[in-house]
Symmetry: C2
Subunit: 183 residues, 2 copies
Amino acid sequence: MPRRRASERPRISVLRVGHRAGRDPRLTTHVALTARAFGAERLYLHPPDVELAGRVDRVGRQWGGTFAVEGVDDWKKFVRAFDGTVVHLTMYGRPFAAVAPALRRSKSILFVVGGAKVPPQLYGLARYNVAIGHQPHSEVAALAVALAELRGIPAPGAWPGATHAIVPMERGKSVERIPAEGE
Amino acid sequence: MPRRRASERPRISVLRVGHRAGRDPRLTTHVALTARAFGAERLYLHPPDVELAGRVDRVGRQWGGTFAVEGVDDWKKFVRAFDGTVVHLTMYGRPFAAVAPALRRSKSILFVVGGAKVPPQLYGLARYNVAIGHQPHSEVAALAVALAELRGIPAPGAWPGATHAIVPMERGKSVERIPAEGE
């Protein structure tokens, strides 16, 4: 996995379409936290889910960074207006390796992941339809691998603004509390 | 991501501990399908969940391969008896990069992923506690990235015994039906 300087990296956001607030809050939470942990800037969520956005906000207040979940009412309009490369992750798409060079040259990428039912228009609106393997698995897995391929696995260390950071350990858990400025 | 010949690859299985059949069937299904899609041989599931195993079996009958979900009653005994390298995926562990060379030399690996609550004994029983990033995210994401790092992203093509296979496409869906022998 090539490591790249921060300035060379594409900026990445994620759009989840077809979220069902009643049915899959935990799966969408995993999508959101995966996006955040692997360096995406935003999760755009259709339809909006204020509770979920709040939960992810609380994670950010503890562990740092500026990631946020933003609701999107009209996902088609949003995708059409996106200033960058729209990449739909789907097992029906082209192999990731075939598209990776183009993605690495992009300045800004929007990864789109569906839920159980993907609106068919998405295949037409995306610049690329890309498969992370061509077997049924998980939008969380597909997103994680795509992000790790483009950004690498994040290194240890406190994120900006964090109140807590993990100190990697061979066994057990160690969490460091980070004093706020002036504390 | 280094591509390796099949003979050089570690054999990989996955153990999920603390599955809650009532509460997280979909998350564990994502764990199972991710394990399968990225080349693991088995998901061992504690506690057992016959319904989930059946659902994953049906995926295998359509899409091929020999992956299966097996219930485990005593996960500690199972981990102690495992003939290979036991790797607990946890955000508190050492960076993946620090452990990857040892993992690539292993003949057989058991990745252990917890649910919301991880039994503390796991940290002591695992040979390695390994973090895929040191931020909270998802056991599905951690497993996917670990498997993709060790095995690569699977290439297109029908799996042995499949009745169906995806034909990668730039737009839309194409699924090929594979005639059974003698059909």
